[in-house]
């Protein structure tokens, strides 16, 4: 049975990728490393960030709002202290990066050259300090520019991660492709709120946070379908994937691989369970190569 997939020139043993923000080298012992196709690091920024004030988490109906605030040690310490520990795991490591300005992205990409990483994911769901805090991923043009500059600055494999707050998710994906992206991943969390009605204030330490988990799956799946249909580069689907069936839906919708976020927090052995489930499904359906599944959705005439 062939589970290996290709994302441009990045070949993964299987399509299960750990999404950014739910894994750390310290917690590696909780994860079934051998069942993981690739790991995306927690997003790294140019300078260290202490993160947002608590509470940083809030459970909602079938969802989780987080407001971690990109807490991280900054790219320099990351490269020195954390990256080597990621690299020891023996799994392709994709480093998630984010900047405060557009110029930060290529600079960071340069710093990551020659480190043996599998590639870079661009986290575009963060505020652009130069543009009044608007998220980089809102505008297709900005995404185009960032991707192109990153590709120019390094020969690394690059995958922009789209935000569902994009003005137009398909346009944004196309812009990424045009900028030279090797693959596109989506979605990041949905901007969300929850209010303490007695205190009349946010139930998080910040006003807003990002919604993830099963609640968003049907929307994420639709966006992945739309983007996969529009671009020619591979798409990595993400958003609310909790089990093998969810993962298969994303593959059938057109994703070449999937990222698992929230589900890893609830059950870190889920990557192995999902992979097993996919194997079992392929067996039952007589499918030998997982690539047969990718984009296999049948469209009824009425839908076009």
């Amino acid at each position: 049975m062939k589970l290996s997939i290709q994302l441009g020139n990045l070949v993964l043993e299987n399509p299960i990728i750990i999404a950014s923000g739910v894994f750390s080298p310290d917690s590696a012992s909780y994860f079934p490393i051998e069942a993981i196709g690739a790991i995306i690091t927690k997003t790294v920024t140019p300078r260290p960030r202490e993160g947002n004030p608590p509470p940083r988490l809030l459970e909602t109906a079938a969802g989780l709002i987080n407001s971690i605030g990109l807490q991280n040690v900054g790219i320099e310490r990351f490269i020195e202290e954390e990256l080597p520990r990621y690299m020891e795991l023996g799994v392709p490591i994709i480093v998630s990066i984010s900047g405060e300005t557009e110029a930060d992205f290529p600079l960071m990409a340069e710093r990551l050259r020659g480190k043996g990483i599998a590639g870079i994911e661009l986290n575009l769901s963060c505020p652009n300090v130069q543009r009044g805090g608007m998220h980089f991923g809102r505008d297709a043009e900005t995404v185009f520019r960032i991707v192109r500059e990153v590709k120019d600055a390094s020969s690394l494999w690059v995958m922009p991660k789209l935000t569902p707050q994009a003005r137009d998710i398909v346009e944004t994906a196309l812009a990424g492709e045009e900028g030279g992206a090797d693959a596109i991943s989506l979605v990041n969390t949905f901007l969300a709120m929850a209010i303490d009605i007695r205190a009349r204030s946010s139930r998080l330490g910040t006003l807003m946070g990002g919604l993830s988990g099963p609640a968003i799956k049907p929307i994420a799946l639709r966006m992945v379908y739309e983007v996969a249909r529009a671009v020619r580069i591979p798409v990595v689907g993400c958003g609310g994937i909790m089990n093998a069936e969810d993962a298969l839906e994303f593959l059938i919708a057109g994703a070449s691989a999937v990222e698992i976020g929230t589900a890893c927090l609830i059950n870190p052995s889920i990557p192995a369970e999902i992979l097993d489930g996919i194997r079992k499904f392929m067996e039952e359906e007589g499918i030998d190569d997982i690539r047969e599944l990718i984009g296999s959705l049948k469209i009824k005439p009425l839908d076009i």
Partner: protein, 247 residues
């Protein structure tokens, strides 16, 4: 790989309307747990509630471990409905224990349901002394059993048992001769404990709570402010030096 366990429900016993003791069978957790550590438990197999629930280890008995649980929302409500023989998905033991081996003569201070980790701790100590406070007698969970294993000085706000007043009112007095405080309880109490410990110049270790997702240090969700920046309650705690935490 430190996966989660399927722990079997051995027994469930209510200590009050909304607090119950759950005995679960899982030899590895029972073997490895230290006082102050916790487990992270799934309350249902569906997505509501989505997250696990952190609960301190109350006791260990052979292959079993016990949890003292107060029903406050839907997760704990679901847990209160489990039946003997049911299996629960448990991750643990997690977090850092009280550093009880480093000190000779600790004073323990518990508020209400905060007794959970301290009960387990008591059993590891030779001549333990516990100040145990609550609003009223019915919230001094397991008081009778506690008196069998420790010198317990109860406090209640309504005077229905022991001294009337907060557990911290005479803390300074009681501290004499002790070289450390181990405390767990509501935030207000912990704040007071830390202040008094600092005044007297005795170290304190407090067990903290924060909303958690993973419980094993991956999500950076359970942050608490400390003098050294944000620390994670699940990984750097839940037991932390009182002097470091900014609460």
């Amino acid at each position: 790989m430190k996966g989660s366990f399927k722990a079997k429900v051995i027994s469930k016993r209510f200590l009050s309307d909304d607090v119950f003791l759950l005995k679960l069978r899982e030899p590895i957790i029972a073997e490895e747990s230290l006082p102050g550590q916790f487990v992270n438990l799934r309350c249902s197999s569906i997505y509501e509630p989505l997250l696990r629930r952190p609960l301190s280890i109350y006791d260990v008995e052979e292959d079993n471990f016990l949890l003292l649980i107060r029903i406050i929302g839907k997760g704990t409500k679901l847990l209160s409905l489990v039946r003997e023989g049911d299996e629960l998905d448990v991750l643990g033991p997690l977090g850092n224990p009280f550093p009880y081996r480093m000190y000779k003569n600790p004073l323990l201070v518990a508020g209400g349901i905060g007794i959970a980790p301290l009960h387990f701790l008591l059993k590891k100590l030779s001549f333990p002394i516990l100040l145990f406070g609550a609003r009223s007698k019915s919230e001094l969970y397991g008081l009778e059993d506690l008196t069998k294993i420790a010198r317990v000085i109860p406090f209640t706000e309504d005077g229905s048992e022991g001294e009337r007043g907060l557990v911290t009112t005479r803390l300074k007095e009681f501290l004499k001769g002790h070289d450390v405080i181990f405390a767990c309880g509501p935030m207000g109490m912990l704040r007071e404990v830390v202040t008094i410990a600092k005044d007297v110049g005795v170290p304190s270790y407090i067990s903290l709570e924060e909303r958690m997702a993973c419980g094993f240090g991956a999500c950076l969700g359970c942050a608490v402010k400390t003098k050294k920046g944000y620390k994670m309650v699940c990984k750097d705690g839940p037991v932390m030096p009182g002097e470091e935490v900014i609460i």
